[in-house]
């Protein structure tokens, strides 16, 4: 009886966990609009990690191998030796997605602020997906390329705005 109950409740608990996970995944721009089958395939390769408060998640300048998604909990992003706080992350936030394409060193340090449940999706998992299901793998790569394109466009606009400002300052006659 106990076994049956635990199996039933165990199943329900797992189902509840999966639903929560799917809800988080659908909010991530990289996986937006993916079918249930695709999300299920993705869920199978994700690494679930638990972090205690104050525990280091990623460290600045160490190799970046993939992205992390915060399923629940809060984390702090800092930079430099003085640990200047850049931002705070919480449920559904993600970081390091561009490391899926390019193994560059991490640009900041992320430390858990509260107990965090985090999902990891790494370059090797993406390469595996591309080999097993090329259509799905390419879909993720295209989505990542789009995100990169958007960021590049945004950066270009910022550079243009800054250069206009510089020109404006240069041409401004001193009073």
């Amino acid at each position: 009886m106990t076994d049956f109950r635990s199996r039933v409740f165990g199943y329900r608990r797992k189902q509840k966990q999966d639903e929560a996970l799917m809800a988080v995944l659908t909010k991530i721009p990289v996986f937006e609009g993916f079918s249930e089958r695709e999300l299920a395939a993705l869920e199978r390769v994700l690494h679930r990690r638990e972090y205690l408060p104050e525990e280091l998640i990623i460290r600045q300048d160490e190799p970046g191998l993939g992205m992390y998604i915060i399923q629940s909990g809060q984390a702090v992003v800092t930079t430099g030796r003085d640990k200047v706080q850049l931002s705070q992350l919480s449920d559904g936030d993600f970081f390091g997605e561009l490391s899926l394409l390019d193994e560059t060193p991490r640009s900041a340090t992320v430390v858990a602020k509260t107990h965090c449940l985090i999902l990891g999706f790494f370059q090797s998992d993406l390469f595996g997906l591309i080999e097993r299901d090329p259509r799905f793998g390419v879909k993720i790569v295209i989505r990542l390329a789009k995100i990169m394109g958007d960021r590049l466009r945004h950066a270009n606009q910022q550079v243009l705005a800054l250069s206009d400002k510089v020109q404006e300052l240069l041409h401004k006659k001193p009073a």
Partner: protein, 346 residues
């Protein structure tokens, strides 16, 4: 000019680790060999399962198809090859040396006695020794089959069974293992596993395919030359080819011996040696560049010591597994150190 210095400790470390693991496996016994063989098979067959998955098949179905195909292939090979091998081994065991060969051997024997009389060779019976050796090979083969038949049957059943599960659930097993690694070393472990997989996977698969191709070429060459027991000798040469440096020589010696003893003419050794040289050239310049994508470079001394230790501990299987196992530890150590340096573990 800066000359690179090789630290002996770094060169020897993989060998020492492999040696420790070999001793550990020796204590665990035959079960470990079965598990290692199943793991190797699953590792070699993994790209086939992945390719089937890419064609829309589920992993379970893909694995089932591969295992059924493998069993089918083994059964078919059994039907065609086992009777031939048994027949050839029986021939080797019972067949006495031909009259021509006996005369040639008697000549050699006489010459040895005349020139090396100071060694006390008056009672030396070379022909008797050769006949005795030939019989002992066959006897040992059948004694092994009979004495260890239960173990052999268990291995034949267990290996495909284990291979099926390693192939089907290998990814989940790897993920479960990685999940046990502490958070701080998790990315490092993942990175190391990925690099090891890409370096070793191609090497092991390439070696396996190369051995198959070499065995097939040797069987055909020996059949054309009319050498007896060509199937057995060809398979032996293919397997021996897996062992660097000593393997190709070890592969040609039995073929030469059988050719000379079968014809009684020492000159019949030449076509066998030449054909094996040609096969080795084809293997090195045509087959290896295509099938062995990456090689795990190791010092010849390390390779030879590893082969000797493997042979001493596990016999022929140990000799065959010695190089890939030592290569595995070399890659683990090399990539481990390189990856470790990128992280600032405190």
């Amino acid at each position: 000019m800066n000359t690179p210095t090789v630290r002996p400790s770094r060169e020897l470390a993989p060998l020492l680790i492999a040696l420790l693991v070999a001793i550990l496996l020796l204590f665990i016994g035959g079960a470990a060999q079965v598990v290692i063989l199943a793991l190797l098979l699953a590792y070699i067959l993994d790209p086939v399962a992945t390719a089937l998955e890419a064609r829309g098949m589920s992993r379970t179905l893909a694995t089932l198809l591969i295992i059924l195909g493998l069993i089918g292939l083994l059964v078919a090979l059994g039907f065609f090859l086992v009777p031939t091998i048994v027949e050839q081994m029986q021939g080797l065991q019972s067949g006495s040396t031909s009259a021509q060969a006996a005369a040639a051997i008697r000549d050699i024997e006489r010459s040895l006695k005349d020139n090396l009389s100071f060694l006390g060779l008056e009672d030396f019976d070379l022909l008797g020794r050769i006949d005795e050796f030939k019989k002992s090979i066959g006897e040992r083969f059948f004694a092994y089959l009979l004495s260890d038949s239960l173990g052999l049957i268990i291995s034949i059943v267990t290996i495909p069974f284990l291979t099926f599960f390693f192939l089907k659930d290998g990814r989940e097993m790897k993920k479960a293992l990685v999940s046990m690694v502490p958070n701080r070393y998790f990315e490092f472990t993942l990175d190391l596993l990925y690099k090891m997989d890409s370096q070793l996977g191609n090497y092991l698969r390439g070696q396996f395919i190369d051995a198959l191709i070499f065995a097939a070429m040797a069987i055909v060459a020996l059949w054309i030359l009319g050498v007896n027991y060509f199937v057995f000798l060809g398979i032996f040469a293919g397997m021996a080819n897996l062992i660097p440096y000593v393997g190709p020589i070890a592969g040609v010696i039995p073929a030469v011996a059988v050719a000379v003893l079968g014809s009684g003419d020492l000159g019949s050794a030449l076509p066998v040696v030449v054909s094996f040289l040609v096969l080795k050239l084809i293997d090195d310049f045509v087959v290896v560049p295509y099938v062995v994508a990456s090689s795990v470079e190791m010092h010849p001394v390390i390779v030879l010591i590893a082969i000797m230790v493997g042979g001493e501990l596990f016999g022929i299987l140990g000799m065959l597994l010695a190089v890939p196992v030592t290569g595995f530890f070399k890659v683990v150590l090399k990539e481990g150190i390189a990856t470790y340096r990128k992280y600032r573990f405190t």
